[in-house]
Symmetry: D2
Amino acid sequence: MIKFGIVGYGYWGPNVVRNIDQLDGSKVVAICDKSPASRKKIQKNYPNVLVTADAAELMSSPEIDAIAVITPVWTHYELAKAALENGKHVFVEKPFTSCRQQAEELIELAAKKNLRIMVDHTFLFTGAVKKMAELLNNGTLGKVYYYDSTRVNLGLFQHDVNVIWDLAPHDLSIIDYLIKERPEAIVATGETHLNSHEDVAYMTIYFPNKIIAHINVNWLSPVKVRTTLIGCEKKMLVWNDVEPDEKIKIYDKGVNISSREGLYNLLVNYRSGDMWAPQLDRTEALKDELAYFIQCISEGKNPHNDGVAGLQVVRMLEAASESLKNRGSLVRL
Amino acid sequence: MIKFGIVGYGYWGPNVVRNIDQLDGSKVVAICDKSPASRKKIQKNYPNVLVTADAAELMSSPEIDAIAVITPVWTHYELAKAALENGKHVFVEKPFTSCRQQAEELIELAAKKNLRIMVDHTFLFTGAVKKMAELLNNGTLGKVYYYDSTRVNLGLFQHDVNVIWDLAPHDLSIIDYLIKERPEAIVATGETHLNSHEDVAYMTIYFPNKIIAHINVNWLSPVKVRTTLIGCEKKMLVWNDVEPDEKIKIYDKGVNISSREGLYNLLVNYRSGDMWAPQLDRTEALKDELAYFIQCISEGKNPHNDGVAGLQVVRMLEAASESLKNRGSLVRL
Amino acid sequence: MIKFGIVGYGYWGPNVVRNIDQLDGSKVVAICDKSPASRKKIQKNYPNVLVTADAAELMSSPEIDAIAVITPVWTHYELAKAALENGKHVFVEKPFTSCRQQAEELIELAAKKNLRIMVDHTFLFTGAVKKMAELLNNGTLGKVYYYDSTRVNLGLFQHDVNVIWDLAPHDLSIIDYLIKERPEAIVATGETHLNSHEDVAYMTIYFPNKIIAHINVNWLSPVKVRTTLIGCEKKMLVWNDVEPDEKIKIYDKGVNISSREGLYNLLVNYRSGDMWAPQLDRTEALKDELAYFIQCISEGKNPHNDGVAGLQVVRMLEAASESLKNRGSLVRL
Amino acid sequence: MIKFGIVGYGYWGPNVVRNIDQLDGSKVVAICDKSPASRKKIQKNYPNVLVTADAAELMSSPEIDAIAVITPVWTHYELAKAALENGKHVFVEKPFTSCRQQAEELIELAAKKNLRIMVDHTFLFTGAVKKMAELLNNGTLGKVYYYDSTRVNLGLFQHDVNVIWDLAPHDLSIIDYLIKERPEAIVATGETHLNSHEDVAYMTIYFPNKIIAHINVNWLSPVKVRTTLIGCEKKMLVWNDVEPDEKIKIYDKGVNISSREGLYNLLVNYRSGDMWAPQLDRTEALKDELAYFIQCISEGKNPHNDGVAGLQVVRMLEAASESLKNRGSLVRL
């Protein structure tokens, strides 16, 4: 039985608490939040749990095995470091940290103390992403040409980060998981309209072997769009995450081009076939993720969404911020 | 009665011919195409029209008032120049020319000879674009924040140009028409998978006053998407051109942010209201455009989609090509 | 403070309990369910509430002002009768009763005892139905021509009733609310494939003044459809309840026909205009409904969804069952 | 080479003429239309064809092998009879005739003269219907439970027939083609709002073995809907004919119910799986149909959409009209 202390009971925290509470191998023993209103809510919903405004209480508690850090990104490093130093495993909200150095330090610390870090890349545990990984890994789709995601909606404006740090980590964690190549360089463009942070932004990520990824994020869209196209050699895929059913459609479509004799003898051969929407696993992603974390702790193995995976995302975010500042200059990774 | 000679009877030419033929103020007197199969088709459909493989015949004909150039882009300059030199008005397929110098030379030549150039920016004459212009011009939408277009489909691969030169001119001509500011700088990224030209590409255009435009073009998409979001201060708009009805939806949505005392006292105020899909003019755009060209010729006035408008698009395409070569370097206009 | 006893904590009961518990003017004091598992769940979620397997305990409790009957339809009459006889107001799940006589008896009993009956026609309290009522009542839509609803999905098969008694009460309560005329006659057709009850069925309801309603219900559909067309003289409306946003679209469309001189001089005049999707109230319908019930009890007034409204729905269901048995014979009301 | 005379060059006639003209084995030699404007149009498009206002000219012409009757339904019988009596094969627009007796007489006459009748049930030659027939015939879908079609739009109002005679023949011909059982009885309901004919109507068709069909037709709908659900034992199908792609979706969904011990021990087992949209043949249906007609004439064999198929549809239409008059009385076939 892994005993958890949770820091942060805002928007996402309650979901983490509920899932840890309901899983067989884990238990919530303490929750910390600075807001009196949140603490009151915790006390009502979880009368047997220790409630506090002071994270240090959790860090020093000998009863607690693991800490879940569900707070704004700029607090992750301090909290995770304290947890690790006190010998506790850490589950951290994404993005992992505010910068690369922090991530590297935490990874090293966890390694030294033989503790687990899991970064909450929840999407990797959805039926949709698991299916896409399966189709890429078993060769159904073939070689990847591009990953093109549109993730736009109205708000919610963040105080402390721009729209890339807010919305792109989803796609970056998925890209890191699905595409086996390491990113080479990043170009980001965008604009700030209302706030002091960009609210509309675009990221291009160059990979080896002509793989390209693009992410369109926007807090000022009148409609909510969550659509990703993945073009591959054998088949092409559309993932529409706002569809209640048929989130993933696989098209037996493609193009073959063979140049015969010079420019004007290109032979273009379009292939068009059936479309297929596989049934997806509908288990709550966060539940699967936390069960996996408990299993990793028990078995002493690193999860695939560990600190290193979290660092990959942070590196791409840092590069995007740098490129954005220079209106799209190429930033090599 | 304006008498037309048409050069090029491939994919788009027949539409231009049919419309000129049916309009009251114009008549097709000669059509030129290098392909014997095309010439045979012309002869069958238009038995009273002169059919030739030699464009020079049209240029020198004293019977012809105007030439429509509906050929690949790399031939536009030579054909348009010959027409103008022979005292004929010119209707040119988009993009206007292969480079800026050619466009400037043609503009100057037409001015000197007092002839009209119209670049076939057909989209400007659709019910959708006319309605968007109206809503922007009369203040309904308010100040523009961004123009974000996705224009993707499977093929058709072009031999001589990349996907930006093939698909982006539509959006660039619309942007030039709708946004009153002049573009400042362009960033383009993309990748070449099958051919020697980019088949997936992304363009960001920076304007003054924090207006930003983005165009996503792709020849390797399993689905056809023609969706443009326009975010403005008062209202926001979605233009979905593959919808048979309700192509334009206007959302009474928005965000107001007022910073009170420092970073963490931002007041975010979301406004959400009705959606409204105005009825659009359904006249064939090309018919309206050609009627307008005939009127401009008759009245001796320059159309809004004249050589200068064509040049604006060519400049943006050139800048995109340059940026693309350097993986997204900022190219100032 | 109205004190409630709830009978039935199955699929819908927890929602009723949660809302009564959260409203200012009401309180849940006792819950009855025959299933030990349900009782265990209640005890966990509502530790301060009396939990019992015996409804009679609630009926006789002097502490309880009102009983909510959230059980299968064949139990409604006995439970509601006991509640009324014990001087308690009654909130009853729809359909109100299994037959007309039961409904009439309960209405009479409540009147005699000066108690309130509310039948849980939840849909009447949704933003969509409230907006449609507003548009019909203020004359925006004009005279009604037809109401045409499709309400199909896969399952859930009921043990004790056919698909009409399961799914049609939603539409019948809405029709009774929106259409001011009284139904004249009903025709129902359908078929039984798997069970002993019809799983596919169609109902036509004839009203005076050429108003016609049609309801298509089906437990064997691969897709979930919740679409209602309402054709009116001035405007036409589509209500798509599976859309997350823009559930209601109003079309400025119509037809005028004027016969000039005989059959072949009909003048048909189609009117086509804008489409408009009004913003809808998003409050939870059940919350509004229960707040209204508490208000009705406090003020001693009958709700619009009272026993008489419940009886209207039961009469139409009975007529449909009779027609269905005779494969579509007309049953007058 | 089969030589055709065409009677009727209104809305659909030009498509029939174009296809016959382009097919290898056929030729249009004469076209008849009462309207001077139509005759003028014919002369322009087909300068080498005989144009006349008198159908008798075609009937008596020894040059003509087959007559296509593309006129209003009330004229079909006279024209087809004249053609058959003059030894000509007949292609007749749907519905075949105005009543059962006319259809039977024409069938008998054609048999006596050894001539072919084809009724223009164009939908049977679409990629969608061919695919559905294939999936039903090869057992993929399993036993049919129901066929449920919605075919509604705004207008076009017909002068001489109601909405069932206008829109239902499409579905009736498809049902006759796909469902191997013979219909037993029909129930139709509807209402007349603007004209002297019903503009909103609903038809239920009872077949043996618990197969049920339902058709919803409406001239007063703000939106165009062409959706058919086909529920079968093994799989379920949605045919959405207004989709440009993916018109047919096949769902691996179903329900198994097994009653164990009495009513309350029903075991309901829902099966849910992948969805699949097969690629469909995109050949123009009318072209395939007319090629098939020419082949039938050449080989002296009856087409599957012969007079008998036409009669099946007319019988269902007649029964629907009779039922409609009596507000849904069951009419046995």
